[in-house]
């Protein structure tokens, strides 16, 4: 054996590093950083949601309208025709002497909105900045809310992330059965918009003969019962209070039965409003409305203080559990809709792993055997680099806790094919030099020199393509370009530096009379 050189030592360390850090992934041990399997390999639910930000804008302008109305009434300013139409709040002053008061009020409390004033007519809309901010908030709030809900549901490592300008990516691995999947989907999409509304007792008996438009004229709204399809309620459209005043929600059970109910607590302000309302409405009914459906509409027997409220209704314990989670995590400012959805059963994931592992092993073995047959010991050296490369890819992916997907597996298989290319080029160069009569030492040194620019330029161009793919790709493409990039970088270390070091190390052993054994060429003795 020759002297140890820095190249072979570095290669040894890289090999060791590769093995040590890929162990947690290979043995699937609890400890240590490891590769996570993509949804296509372990099964799970992948959803791309879009947020209907226009709804958030609508409710923003509505709330501005409400507070303008409140302010005008407080100041005793009489206006005509206060209404909201396609994103614009509009009203007309009746008395021109009120104008300074209105201007002052708008300047003080409504700084962020765009105000157009034409004589006595005022038109207000959201400023561009406020619009952007509202949209941004709606998306951020949706991401946070959905993540909260999934965490409360007790799922292992769900991914919830903003994607692009108005999309949300949700990935939930390891869903075991259909029922769970449905519950999760329902939970994600639940608006969880809770309202307490008073029943319009004066007209309640006419509800079945009334259209929604007629109800609107009385300031009412008709809502359906959640369980009983035919049943309808006539409610005052302005709610008594809503879910924003809620502080907690828990599942409980009714006395003397196993039917679940949801207890929730209101904050100070909510509790006061609720107490005042129940005090003056004894004998009337109050409806608990969730996402536009009436869950229960009990008679108010007495004033209810303390801010503790219950929803009973025809739901299963599971539904009650999920509703409570949705209420606790808050309402979605804007509804979400599904743009794409993939659900992969666990058995398909297992099949995918099996198929790609077989391909990897067969591909790997055929390359390894081929190299030895064609290049002799030079092939063995190249194979050592190949094995080291494989471990390095796994180790680096483990350290980054990267996700391995099916295309990622294909990327590894492909890297095996391309990583030997460097050694093929090098060995071909060495052979050429040996044929032209160079000594073994010279053939090896010169061979590496000659081959270097080709390997370098080829690898860099492929790397450019892979990096662009990584930057532009989504999901599966990212995984593919990641493994290719890591593979290329690792191959520079193993296939160029590593094998060079090995040759220098074993140089004294290489017998110039056995070139067929060492390099697979028939030429008796080099000069």
């Amino acid at each position: 054996m020759g002297k140890l050189n820095y190249r072979v030592v570095l290669f040894g360390f890289a090999f060791l590093f590769g093995i040590v850090f890929s162990i947690p992934s290979l043995t699937q041990s609890e400890e240590g950083k490891k590769i996570t399997l993509g949804l296509d390999l372990q099964g799970g639910l992948h959803m791309l949601l879009s947020v209907k930000t226009e709804v958030a804008l609508e409710s923003k302008i509505k709330s501005i309208g409400t507070s303008i109305k409140y302010n005008l009434e407080k100041e005793d300013i009489v206006v005509d025709d206060l209404k909201i139409d396609s994103g614009v709040v509009r009203f007309e002053l009746l008395d021109a002497t009120d104008k300074p008061k209105v201007d002052a009020m708008l300047a003080d409390d409504f700084k962020e909105i765009t105000i157009k004033n034409n004589g006595l007519v005022y038109e207000m809309s959201l400023s561009k900045e406020l619009e952007t901010e509202t949209k941004h908030n709606a998306i951020k709030q949706a991401v946070d809310t959905i993540r909260n809900r999934l965490n409360m549901f007790g799922l292992a490592e769900p991914t919830v992330a903003k994607q692009g300008s108005d999309r949300i990516l949700v990935e939930v691995p390891g869903i075991k059965n259909q029922a769970d999947e449905d519950r999760i989907k329902a939970l994600i999409a639940k608006a969880a918009h809770l309202q307490m509304m008073a029943v319009d007792e004066d007209r309640a008996n006419r509800v079945y003969n009334m259209t929604q438009a007629e109800a609107k004229q009385f300031g009412d709204i008709i809502l359906d019962d959640v369980a009983d399809n035919g049943r309808k309620y006539l409610l005052y459209s302005i709610p008594i209070l809503d879910g924003s005043m809620l502080t907690d929600a828990k599942v409980g059970y009714q006395k003397k039965s196993t039917r679940p109910l949801i207890n929730f607590s209101l904050n100070g302000q909510g509790a006061k409003i609720f107490a005042d309302f129940t005090e003056k409405s004894v004998g009337k009914r109050m409806a608990v409305v969730l996402d536009g459906k009436v869950y229960t509409a009990p008679n108010i027997v007495q004033r209810i203080g303390g801010g503790q409220v219950q929803i009973t209704g025809a739901f299963t314990p599971q539904e009650a559990h999920d509703i409570a989670i949705a209420l606790r995590s808050g309402a979605l400012l804007a509804p979400v809709q599904v743009e794409s959805q993939r659900s992969i059963g666990p058995s398909l994931g297992a099949d995918n792993i099996k198929a790609s592992l077989i391909a990897l092993i067969v591909g790997f073995l055929s390359v390894v055997i081929f190299m030895v047959v064609y290049y002799g010991m030079a092939g063995v050296v190249a194979n050592m680099a190949l094995v080291a490369n494989l471990f390095l890819i796994l180790a680096i992916m483990s350290l980054f806790q990267a996700t391995l997907t099916l295309p990622g597996m294909a990327g590894i298989v492909l890297t095996v094919g391309m990583a030997v290319d460097a050694n093929v080029i090098i060995t071909e160069r060495i052979r050429e030099l040996l044929h032209s009569g160079a000594s073994i030492t010279k053939a090896i040194e010169q061979g590496y020199n000659n081959a270097f620019t080709a390997i370098w330029d080829a690898n860099i161009t492929t790397l450019i393509a892979a990096v662009v793919l990584f930057a532009y790709g989504t999901g599966p493409i990212k995984g593919f370009s990641l493994t290719i990039s890591i593979g290329i970088l690792a191959s520079m270390l193993t296939a160029i530096l590593g094998t060079h070091g090995i040759y220098q190390w074993i140089l004294p052993k290489i017998d110039k009379n056995r070139l067929n054994y060492w390099f697979g060429i028939k030429k008796e003795g080099a000069k």
């Binding site: 993939r342 290049y375 295309p407 071909e428 080829a458 492929t462 532009y472 999901g475």
Partner: protein, 324 residues
């Protein structure tokens, strides 16, 4: 073992360049024609729609399933095909329901309950807007990588080398896509990745041949580019064949053993490996010739660059001596 002997006589590739050019142009025109007439068969990743993969315990009663599915209005125009084995089927529709509740699973389970015991293994549902975005992003990725590669190769070689390799690359990608159109392979995200790999592979091959030509320009005595190319290509023939073969085998195992899901991916790569190898020899190199690459100019420039570098070194040496 040696397939090409070291004293392998130089093959006159460039003498036949015109014939191969005709072949290449024909193939590209046919591919473009296929793309225009048959078109790519966009899968749901790009076109949107729903895919439901079902595995039966026994042989899948495919006709029965078709009959039931066709009577259901949500599945109008749906196709039912075998997938991989005869116990698995795939139902495809062009529509994608936007409801989050996603009753598809329940709906299918109820509809097909009479057809035997089965398990729903996969439901993919993609809205049309997502697909559009992916198409533009994919195209952007392709353009950006071509620009990046062009810049790098111009810097490392010369603009004619860069242009020739990009033409070879467009040639390869066009033919690979033509094959996808011909066999109506379903184009999904992994296929896009495969096409980009073909792009990388084709370049890889071309760069290695070009590197040898660059070297040949310096070492081979002949002033004729044709001779330099012929000799350089002949010298790399052994490597080109070997690497192509190993890659081909690996991709072939992927195609044969990797399962139905990546068969489209590996098919694209199979085509790419063959076309990429061919083009690096018969497309990229002759173009270099036709772009009127001049050996004399190149050697001149190299000599000048070398002189400049020597001068700089001399100056630096003088400078260092002066200051120390």
């Amino acid at each position: 073992m040696e397939v090409f002997k070291h004293n392998q006589p130089i093959i006159g590739f460039m003498a036949n360049a015109k014939k191969f050019a005709i072949l290449s142009v024909t193939l590209v025109i046919i591919s473009l024609g296929l793309l225009a007439t048959k078109g790519l068969n966009y899968g749901i990743d790009f076109a949107g729609g729903t895919i439901i993969q079902i595995k039966y315990n026994d042989k899948a009663p495919i006709d029965k399933v078709r009959k039931i599915i066709s009577t259901h209005k949500n599945y109008a125009g749906a196709t039912v095909t075998a997938f991989g084995s005869d116990s698995e089927i795939v139902i495809r529709t062009k529509q994608a329901s936007k409801s989050v509740k996603g009753g598809a699973k329940v709906e299918i389970t109820n509809m097909l309950s009479s057809t035997g015991k089965f398990e729903i293994r996969r439901i993919d549902l993609v809205g049309p807007s997502v697909g559009e975005e992916l198409k533009t992003k994919g195209l952007m990725a392709m353009l950006l990588s071509i620009i990046g590669i062009l810049l790098y190769l111009s810097f490392r070689f010369e603009w004619r080398f860069a242009t020739a390799s990009v033409i070879a690359l467009v040639h390869d990608v066009t033919i690979a896509m033509g094959m996808l159109a011909l066999f109506q392979v379903e184009v999904n995200l992994p296929i896009l990745a495969a096409i980009l790999t073909v792009l990388g592979y084709s370049l890889n091959d071309t760069v290695i041949v070009f590197d040898r030509i660059r070297e040949g320009i310096r070492t081979i005595k002949s002033p004729k580019l044709e001779d330099v190319i012929d000799e350089s290509v002949t010298r790399t023939l052994s490597r080109t064949t070997l690497t192509s073969l190993t890659t081909f085998f690996v991709v072939l195992t992927l195609y044969l053993l990797g399962g139905e899901i990546i068969s489209g991916f590996s098919f694209t790569l199979l085509v790419g490996v063959v076309v990429g190898t061919y083009s690096s020899i018969f497309v990229a190199s002759p173009i270099l010739m036709w772009l009127k690459f001049s050996i004399a100019d190149f050697r001149d420039r190299e000599a000048k660059a070398l002189k400049r570098q020597k001068e700089r070194e001399k100056q630096r040496a003088m400078y260092e001596q002066g200051t120390i």
